[in-house]
C-alpha cells in the first residue's frame, strides 16, 4: 500500500494557543492556506525550522492529509477538529469563518463518521 505522501505542518501559537499551519516559512490560521508537502525532505526541513522557533509556536508536528472529492483534508478526525473547532459550538473556532474551504472540511468529517444503524450490529 503506497499511499501518496501528503502532509501539512501544524502547531499552536505559543502566546495565544491558536492552531496554525505552516506555509512557506509563515504560520497561517486556516488549513486551506497550509502548505502541502509531497516529499519527506522538505516536510522534515520545515519541521526543523518550526522547532527552531520555540518562542513562536509549541508542539509542531506533521499531519497526514488526504485528497477526496471535497478537496484536501487532514486524515484524522482530531486534526479536522483542530482545523475547524468544536462540534458542540459551531460558532467557535476556525469554522466560524464559514466559506467553501470550511464547508469542504466539514463535509470530509461527515464522510468519515459512520452512519451505521443499531440493527446492523453484529455480535462477534
Amino acid at each position: 500500500m503506497s499511499a501518496e505522501f501528503l502532509k501539512a505542518l501544524t502547531a499552536n501559537r505559543l502566546g495565544e494557543g491558536d492552531v496554525v499551519f505552516w506555509s512557506g516559512g509563515q504560520w497561517v490560521e486556516q488549513f486551506a492556506d497550509a502548505e502541502l508537502f509531497t516529499e519527506e525532505g522538505p516536510a522534515e526541513a520545515a519541521v526543523a525550522l518550526a522547532k527552531a522557533q520555540p518562542r513562536i509556536v509549541v508542539d509542531a508536528y506533521l499531519i497526514d492529509v488526504t485528497r477526496s472529492d471535497q478537496g484536501v483534508a487532514p486524515v484524522s478526525y482530531r486534526e479536522r477538529l483542530r482545523a475547524l473547532g468544536p462540534t458542540n459550538e459551531l460558532g467557535h473556532g476556525k469554522q466560524a469563518l464559514g466559506g467553501a474551504a470550511i464547508a469542504a472540511l466539514q463535509a470530509a468529517s461527515g464522510a468519515a463518521r459512520s452512519t451505521g444503524r443499531l440493527d446492523l450490529i453484529r455480535r462477534k
Partner: protein, 552 residues
C-alpha cells in the same frame, strides 16, 4: 463560608506574581517548553486542541456570589462567554491565551480564587459534598476538614512532585456525593462510640485505564490526627510509588501490588514516627476553621410553607422541578436546590456568562449567597427558603437552568472529549446530547428514575465512565469514533466498576442502545429498584441480548 484573611490573600498575590514572572520568562525564551510545561500545569494551564485551557480551582466546590460573578466576567472577557464545570468541582475555560493567563490569575485572586494545583503531580483540589452544611444527613461539616486539607496541601514542599496526581475526597453522609471510593484517598467521617469524630480512610481508588475501588486501611482515624496520617500516606507513596511508567504511577497501583493490608501497615509504621505536635493541626486552628463554616442568616421557619405548597399544586412544571431538583434541608422551612447544567441541547457542565450572573443574583436573593458545584457537573443552591422556591424557579427558567432532571437519564456526565481535549479518542458531548434528545419525554425519564450515565472521550476516564450505571467510553477504531458501553458501575457508597456490555458501537448507535437498555430495565424491575439494582440482580445477559438483538 471560609473567608480569606490577609495571609491567604498575600499568598495568592505571591503565587500570581510568580506565575507572571514565569510566563514572562517563557515568552522571552528563557525557559524551554519542557521546563515551562510543568509550571503552567501547576497553575492549571493546559494546551488543548484549539487553545490553552485554564482550570480554576473551586475548593471543595464552594463559591460565593462575587466569585461566580468574576467567573462570568472572565468567561466573557478572556474566553468565548462560557465555562465548563468538571467532575472535580472545578471550572475550566477552554479558549484562554497564555499571554492573558497572568491577568486572569490576578482577577481570580481578587476574589480569593486561583488555579493552584489544578494539574500536575501534586495534591489536587479536595472533593467534598455539595450539600455540606445544608443536609441533615451529615455527621459533621466536611468543609472544615477539606479546608484543613486545602491549607496543608497548598504548595506542600515534600509532596509537590509526586509520582502522579493525587486526589482526596471528604464525605460526611451515608449517601456519598463525592465519589470517595474512586479517589486516591477517600475520607468518610464517622462517629465513634464515644461520640468522637473520626475518618474511615480508603486508599487506592481511581479510574483511568486500570480502575480500582479504594480499600479501607483504617476504620477509625481520630479526626484530629488527620494531617499526620495523610502525611504518612503521602510519604509512603512518594517513596514507593512507581516513577518508571506513568500508567502505573498512581497510588492505586502501589496499593494493589502491595495489598491494602501491607500498604496500611507501612503507613502505620511511618505514622508512628511522625511528631504529632508538629504535623497535626492545633485544636485552636480547627476551631477557627470550624467557626468560619457556621452558617449565619438561617431563620426559624415553619416546616412547611403554605404558599409554596399552593404554588406547587397550581404549577405542574414547578411540581416536577420540586420532585427532581429540590431536597430536604436540615433547617425547617428550607430546601436544597439542584441546578442542572444538563438541558438536552446544552453541553453537560457548561454555563455561559449570563447564566453564571443569573445564578449569582439568585443565590444572593434566595440562597444566602452560597453556591456549590457538584462532581456531577451541576450547581447547588444550598439554603433556599421553601417560600422562595416559586420565585427561584421562575428565575432559573428565565435563563434555561430549570431542567428538572437531577439523577435522571439525561443528567449525564461528559468530559470535553475530542471537541476540546488533546488526549481524546472520540467526542463525548454530542453523545450526551443524543441521549438527552432521545429521552426528552420528562414523564418517561421520571418513570425510569435514577440512572447515571457517564461518558469519557478516552480511557483517562475524566467523565467517570467506569462508575456510570451506564458508562460510555470513546475509542478510536481505525480513525472512527466508537463507543464501548459498560453496565453496573457506581461512584457512590455502593461503588463498583462497570463491566463491558459487548462490541463497541458507533456514535449513532449509542442513544438507541441506551434506550434498549432502559426498556429491559423497565420490563424487569421489581418494586423500587433503580436501573443499577436491577442490573445487579439480573446480570448482563438480558441487557446484552437486547442491544445486540439483531446479531446472528
Amino acid at each position: 463560608m471560609y473567608r480569606y484573611d490577609a495571609i491567604d490573600k498575600e499568598f495568592l498575590t505571591d503565587r500570581s506574581n510568580e506565575f507572571r514572572h514565569q510566563v514572562g520568562r517563557r515568552l522571552a525564551g528563557e525557559l524551554s517548553e519542557d521546563q515551562f510545561k510543568p509550571l503552567r500545569l501547576m497553575n492549571g494551564l493546559y494546551l488543548q486542541l484549539h487553545a490553552y485551557m485554564l482550570r480554576v480551582c473551586i475548593p471543595y466546590g464552594t463559591l460565593n456570589v462575587a466569585q461566580v460573578r468574576r467567573l462570568a466576567w472572565i468567561a466573557r472577557t478572556y474566553d468565548k462567554g462560557y465555562g465548563h464545570f468538571t467532575t472535580r468541582q472545578n471550572i475550566q475555560f477552554h479558549w484562554v491565551k497564555l499571554r492573558d493567563a497572568p491577568d486572569i490569575l490576578d482577577a481570580l485572586a481578587e476574589v480569593d480564587l486561583h488555579a493552584i494545583q489544578t494539574s500536575g503531580n501534586c495534591i489536587r483540589n479536595t472533593t467534598s459534598d455539595p450539600r455540606a452544611g445544608a443536609t441533615a444527613e451529615e455527621i459533621d461539616d466536611p468543609r472544615v476538614w477539606s479546608e484543613a486539607i486545602r491549607q496543608w496541601s497548598t504548595l506542600h514542599p515534600e509532596f509537590s512532585y509526586l509520582p502522579r496526581k493525587f486526589k482526596i475526597a471528604v464525605t460526611a453522609s451515608a449517601k456519598d456525593r463525592t465519589a470517595a471510593r474512586v479517589h486516591d484517598i477517600g475520607l468518610a467521617l464517622r462517629q465513634g462510640r464515644d461520640g468522637t469524630l473520626g475518618f474511615e480512610v480508603m486508599v487506592g481508588g481511581g479510574m483511568g485505564r486500570t480502575p480500582f475501588i479504594g480499600q479501607t486501611i483504617k476504620e477509625f482515624l481520630p479526626a484530629t490526627r488527620l494531617l499526620s496520617y495523610l502525611e504518612a500516606v503521602l510519604r509512603v507513596y512518594n517513596r514507593a510509588g512507581r516513577r518508571d511508567n506513568i500508567y502505573k504511577a498512581r497510588i492505586k497501583i502501589l496499593v494493589s501490588s502491595l495489598g491494602a493490608e501491607e500498604f496500611g501497615r507501612q503507613v502505620e509504621e511511618e505514622w508512628a514516627q511522625i511528631d504529632a505536635a508538629r504535623a497535626d493541626l492545633p485544636d485552636t486552628e480547627l476551631a477557627r476553621i470550624r467557626a468560619a463554616f457556621i452558617q449565619p442568616g438561617l431563620e426559624v421557619l415553619p416546616a412547611v410553607s403554605d404558599s409554596y405548597e399552593a404554588a406547587r399544586g397550581a404549577n405542574p412544571a414547578l411540581a416536577r422541578f420540586a420532585r427532581n431538583n429540590v431536597s430536604a434541608h436540615k433547617a425547617p422551612g428550607y430546601a436544597i436546590v439542584d441546578v442542572s447544567l444538563k438541558a438536552h441541547d446544552a453541553t453537560p457542565g457548561d454555563a455561559n456568562s449570563d447564566q453564571l450572573e443569573a445564578i449569582a443574583d439568585l443565590a444572593e436573593r434566595f440562597s444566602l449567597g452560597d453556591i456549590r458545584v457538584t462532581h456531577e457537573q451541576n450547581l447547588v443552591l444550598p439554603h433556599v427558603k421553601q417560600s422562595d422556591l416559586p420565585a427561584l424557579f421562575e428565575g432559573l427558567v428565565a435563563v434555561g437552568l430549570a431542567t428538572p432532571n437531577i439523577n435522571l437519564v439525561s443528567d449525564i456526565i461528559a468530559c470535553p472529549g475530542l471537541d476540546y481535549c488533546a488526549l481524546a479518542n472520540a467526542r463525548a458531548i454530542p453523545v450526551a446530547q443524543s441521549i438527552a434528545q432521545r429521552f426528552l419525554d420528562a414523564d418517561r425519564a421520571e418513570l425510569v428514575g435514577e440512572l447515571k450515565i457517564k461518558i469519557s472521550g478516552c480511557i483517562n476516564a475524566c467523565g467517570h465512565h467506569h462508575v456510570g450505571h451506564i458508562g460510555i467510553l470513546g475509542v478510536d477504531k481505525k480513525g472512527e469514533e466508537y463507543y464501548q458501553l459498560t453496565l453496573g458501575g457506581s461512584g457512590a457508597e455502593d461503588a463498583s466498576i462497570g463491566k463491558i456490555l459487548g462490541p463497541g458501537l458507533n456514535a449513532d448507535q449509542v442513544a438507541p442502545a441506551v434506550d434498549r437498555l432502559v426498556e429491559v430495565y423497565l420490563a424487569e424491575r421489581q418494586g423500587e429498584e433503580r436501573f443499577l439494582d436491577t442490573y445487579r440482580r439480573i446480570g448482563m445477559t438480558p441487557f446484552k441480548e437486547a442491544v445486540y438483538v439483531d446479531a446472528h
